[in-house]
């Protein structure tokens, strides 16, 4: 191996990257090709034949429009709430955590060592009709006498918000932690009050973290089907539920494949719009770091 390192330096990086890259190519890129091909096939299970069936896409979008809109809506609301919960928390850990920063970070990720499904089942218990939360909300008349949380969109959004929270907190923390406190000092030396120095210094510097957090929360949230299944009813089903049942229950593979691509496309478009809104040059600076 030592001789190998010596003799052919130009080949070394390729030797290092070949096994892993091959894995990614064979089991990520090739499957995407088959999924794309499948989305243009027609027929009934188990016989499908390729035929540039573009109508799969238009049919899928027309038929499952409500679920698509719901996915974007739920994921959008959950991402916004997660940002509102996470930003102050990440800020507090980064600037007030002191010696115990790592401990607080551990507290943030610790709950996620309980399996996803078990966490969601716990929310089922918490939001249950005879649970404490519903009773309190009824007592203060936020909920009517026969009001409920479980099996409503509130429960689904609550579950999604909770389940992807560390994906929001961690990137926010990383970018806030990198903010040089001297810059904030400089701002106050120049007579900015704390609100102004936050708005003009801290917030802009933390935008790459906001972008990463929103991305990492929104993408899995938009494709999720577990929260809708366990905490909602078919009235709350999202596009993930449709893809799942089309693939594994109805076995209409072409429709399911077309839906998968529409979901990816929709996410990509939204991410690009969001990147444009936040300012692209800042973001590339963030990803390079």
């Amino acid at each position: 191996m030592g001789r190998f390192f010596h003799r052919s330096r130009w080949a070394t990086p390729y030797a290092l990257l070949t096994p892993g890259t091959a894995w990614l190519l064979v089991f990520f890129v090739v499957p995407m090709y088959y999924l794309a091909k499948m989305s243009l096939e027609q027929g009934l299970f188990p016989i499908f034949s390729f035929g540039w069936a573009w109508h799969n896409f238009s049919d899928a979008v027309t038929e499952f429009k409500p679920q698509f809109i719901r996915s974007i809506e739920y994921a959008g609301i959950a991402t916004a709430i997660a940002l509102l919960i996470s930003y102050p928390l990440a800020y507090w850990i980064a600037f007030r955590g002191g010696r115990w920063k790592n401990l607080f970070l551990l507290l943030v990720i610790a709950p996620f060592f309980v399996t996803y499904l078990i966490r969601t089942l716990a929310w089922e218990t918490i939001l249950a009709d005879n649970g404490v939360v519903v009773r309190v909300l009824k007592d203060v008349h936020v909920l009517g006498a026969d009001g409920r949380l479980l099996a409503t969109s509130v429960a689904v959004v609550a579950g999604i918000t909770y389940n992807f929270l560390p994906f929001m907190v961690l990137p926010l923390y990383v970018s806030l932690e990198q903010v040089d406190p001297r810059l904030i000092e400089a701002a106050s030396d120049l007579y900015a009050n704390s609100a102004r120095s936050f708005a003009r210094v801290t917030l802009p510097l933390s935008l790459p973290g906001v972008f990463a957090g929103v991305l990492l929360t929104f993408i899995p949230a938009a494709g999720d089907f577990i929260n809708a299944q366990l905490l909602g009813t078919p009235q709350q089903y999202m596009i993930g539920n449709v893809i799942q049942s089309q693939f594994l229950e109805l076995r209409d593979y072409p429709t399911a494949a077309a839906l998968s691509f529409v979901l990816m496309g929709a996410i990509l478009v939204l991410v690009l719009i969001f990147a444009r809104v936040l300012g692209t040059d800042r973001l590339t600076a963030g990803t390079a770091a």
Binding site: P13, F27, F28, R96, R99, A128
Partner: protein
């Protein structure tokens, strides 16, 4: 002005405290209900306190088999993914070569692909290639989604690496291989270890991709999913709490140790 500042400061403290409490609400429910003594098949309402579930954690058909499968897959997939990912990270940070841009993209895109799409695409691959689904296909899938996370984690460690140390070793007569084994590897070992742990955690918790590619093989999350439809035994809460306590306990001990060391050093 001072009073307002005091209030504002503590508003933030209170907010952060509430946010942390919120994170632990479902977990306390999971732990509490592991001590429940449910009457029916569903462990949803509180009936009475018992240690029974903790003394017989595997007393439910299929549960111990599912846990065994999950652990095996997590071990194998994290080891393979850590090796493959570390090699890619070394290539990316240490060498300039053609195609590194596309390689970065190839690593980035799987992390931003919704799990359901990744699971579905793998399913179409296995259907097309007529590969029967089961342990092997789950393993393939887990290695796949772990590689990107390993690359990112190890690369972060490699970027902040002082290359003078390697030059010093070579000046002292070590060849490249010896330098790598004796200098580079020990220095990046914590990053590799962290990447391996992350991969293990991601693998043992994965539901969606596994669900699409498991065939009749049952992992722990799949077991919970199947159980949730017909019955929720308290043993699920026991296993969930136990994994939580072991993982968090280990990390807590590590942090406290580091903090103590830091205090001794200063």
């Amino acid at each position: 002005m001072k009073a307002r500042r005091f209030v504002r400061r503590h508003v933030l403290d209170a907010y952060a405290l509430l946010a942390l409490l919120y994170l632990f609400v479902p977990i306390s429910v999971v732990v509490a209900f592991s001590f429940n003594n449910p009457l029916g098949r569903f462990n949803y309402t509180w009936q009475g306190f018992t240690f029974k579930n903790w003394t017989h954690p595997f007393n439910y058909p299929g549960l111990s088999g599912a846990i065994k499968v999950s652990i095996e897959i997590a071990i194998f997939s994290s080891i393979v993914a850590t090796i493959l990912g570390t090699l890619i990270a070394l290539a990316l940070v240490r060498y300039k070569f053609r195609g590194s841009g596309s390689l970065n993209l190839l690593i980035f895109v799987p992390m931003t692909t919704p799990e359901i799409v990744m699971g579905a695409s793998l399913l179409t691959l296995f259907l097309n290639w007529k590969i029967p689904q089961g342990f092997g296909t789950i393993l393939i899938a887990h290695i796949l989604f772990n590689i990107s996370y390993v690359v990112v984690t190890v690369r972060a460690r490699l970027v902040g690496f002082d290359r003078h140390l390697e030059e010093a070793a070579m000046d002292l007569g070590a060849n490249e291989f010896v330098t790598f084994v004796r200098v580079t590897l020990p220095l990046i070992a914590p990053g590799i270890f962290a990447a391996g742990l992350l991969a293990f955690a991601l693998s043992i918790d994965d539901f969606v991709i596994t669900y699409f590619n498991a065939g009749t093989t049952v992992t722990f999350p799949l077991f919970v999913w199947g159980a949730a439809r017909v019955a929720v035994p308290p043993q699920i809460n026991v296993i969930g709490s136990a994994i939580f306590l072991i993982a968090v306990g280990g990390m807590l001990a590590n942090i406290l140790l580091q903090n103590r060391r830091a205090r001794v050093a200063t």
